[in-house]
């Protein structure tokens, strides 16, 4: 598929290393790679973010569009869409990444479904049947493994960066609509991401679980569990991937291990976002760092 080819000796070396607690790049089993996160890179979006976790490179852009609310609901809409680019792997050209895109998008939507309920209510324009629809579009530019986690971090950062203009809608005499956009550029609607969870993937290799698998490690896995963890340490969604069958005890262990990892990543991420907001440096050159 889109995985690189790995030889039996490499596989053996990797599996034995995991058993001893030392992975190929020197990390421990539950160590995350260092990641860089930037927001506000694409001017034509309402919010954007880019993450680089190892060689995994994901860009998320969010656009807000006005539209009519669905019947019998009083909330806006949030739609996720993921596209894996051929720059990540040549198998992604044309429609090659169709299934992977769908799987990633569904995992994101499922993780955010419950946590964004309150935020969706904020997207409604008061006294009207109109609401904002947030289109979250993620581009996977390069893959070094662990796409689920990186996607959730970049999406959460992009939602944090999103600014939606304040809008008032008046109904004219003949049933036409008048839209008033707030003139002041410092007045905008922002969404609260503190309740949004992050995905944490634990991969089962040779009887042990590791976090933040690289693409070679994913080749050697028996199965994996992707868990959505929020800042209260609650699990919001669980997804099992991979073709092998996992023992139930192992699944329990993986879920318990994911909670402190998820909390730590949320803390790290919030710190990065706080620094970015404070510094307000103009972003010059997309790939400047």
């Amino acid at each position: 598929m889109y995985f690189p080819i790995i030889s039996p000796s490499e596989r053996n070396y990797l599996e034995q290393g995991v058993a001893k607690g030392v992975r190929v790049d020197g990390r421990g089993r539950l160590d995350y790679r260092h990641f860089t996160l930037e927001t506000g890179l694409i001017v034509q979006t309402n919010g954007s973010a880019r993450i680089r976790l190892g060689t995994t490179d994901i860009l998320v852009g969010i656009k807000a569009e006005l539209g009519k609310m669905d019947e019998n609901t009083n909330e806006g809409k949030i739609l996720c869409n993921v596209e894996c680019c051929p720059s990540a792997s040549s198998e992604f050209e044309g429609r090659g990444a169709e299934y992977l895109n769908a799987e990633l998008a569904r995992a994101l939507e499922r993780a955010f479904a419950v946590s964004t309920l309150l935020e969706k209510k904020k997207l409604v324009i008061e006294n009207s049947e109109y609401c904002w629809t947030l289109y979250i579009d993620a581009l996977v530019l390069d893959s070094g493994g662990n796409l689920f986690d990186a996607l959730s971090i970049a999406t959460r950062a992009a939602v944090f960066d999103t600014r939606i203009p304040k809008v008032k809608i008046h109904h004219g005499e003949k049933g036409d609509i008048e839209i008033d956009i707030e003139d002041d550029p410092s007045q905008f609607l922002q969404l609260d991401v503190s309740s949004m969870p992050l995905l944490v993937t634990l991969t089962h290799i040779n009887g042990y679980e590791i976090v933040d698998a690289t693409i070679d490690e994913e080749q050697c896995m028996l199965g994996r569990i992707t868990v959505a963890v929020n800042k209260n340490g609650e699990l919001c969604s669980i997804l099992k991937g991979g073709v092998g069958g996992l023992p139930v005890k192992s699944i329990d262990q993986m879920m318990m291990a994911s909670i402190p990892i998820g909390l730590e990543i949320i803390k790290k991420m919030d710190e990065i976002l706080r620094q970015e907001k404070k510094s307000q440096l103009p972003k010059v050159g997309f790939f400047s760092s």
């Binding site: 694409i42 034509q44 979006t45 060689t55 852009g61 051929p86 579009d137 530019l141 390069d142 997309f286």
Partner: protein
Amino acid sequence: MSRLEYITPEGYRLDGRKATEIRRLQCKFGIFSRADGSAYLEQGNTKVIVAVYGPREVQFKKAPSKHDRGTVSVEFSQATFSTTERKKKSKGDRRGNENSLFLKQTFESIVITSLFPRSQIDIYVQVLQSDGSVTSACVNAITLALLDAGVPMHDMAVACSSGILNSTPVLDLNHIEGTAEGPELTVVIFPHSTRVISLQMDSRVPLHVFENITRLASEGAKKIYQILQQEVRTYQQLLISSGKPS
């Protein structure tokens, strides 16, 4: 319909440029770990990334391999958030297919395909942000990515767009200027011999005007070539000094 003043009487355009001034160019090489060659190019607010794979075995039966030369295939894709209004389909739409074909035909004459028969070069273009002159930015980015991949070419192809605004010939149109009433011409040249490889224009102009803007676009492309050549040299020095196999 109100007539927007694209050039003020003092000669300044909407973004503050003079008529024959091109936008700021920035580029970076080797940005993706798994592609054979890759490049990022920024021309003003237009941002393009290109990944190149090849030469390698021909992948699909629909484009059979040629016995005496290689094939070049281009896939053009625009991010849904690249334009002011969200695009529903990033690839496979008619405009995208037309661009893919234009780029494929351009680069089939640029790459020395006789050196790798029965093989193909795959070029994947992704537009991250679109602010006019997208086709020229793509051509320039593809040239850089092919250089990074080490694919043999006859010369470094560079492209530039030109047009007429308020009766003044201008270079390197942005999105607002591109959608104005005047013509928009994209030209791809070989800078050393000033030979035109590809040309694209969708407007109606008198012949002398056409000659004028074609010449202007070629001059603009040469300016772009100067900048890109400098960037390539810098990257080359970086590779040599770091002892990294490319």
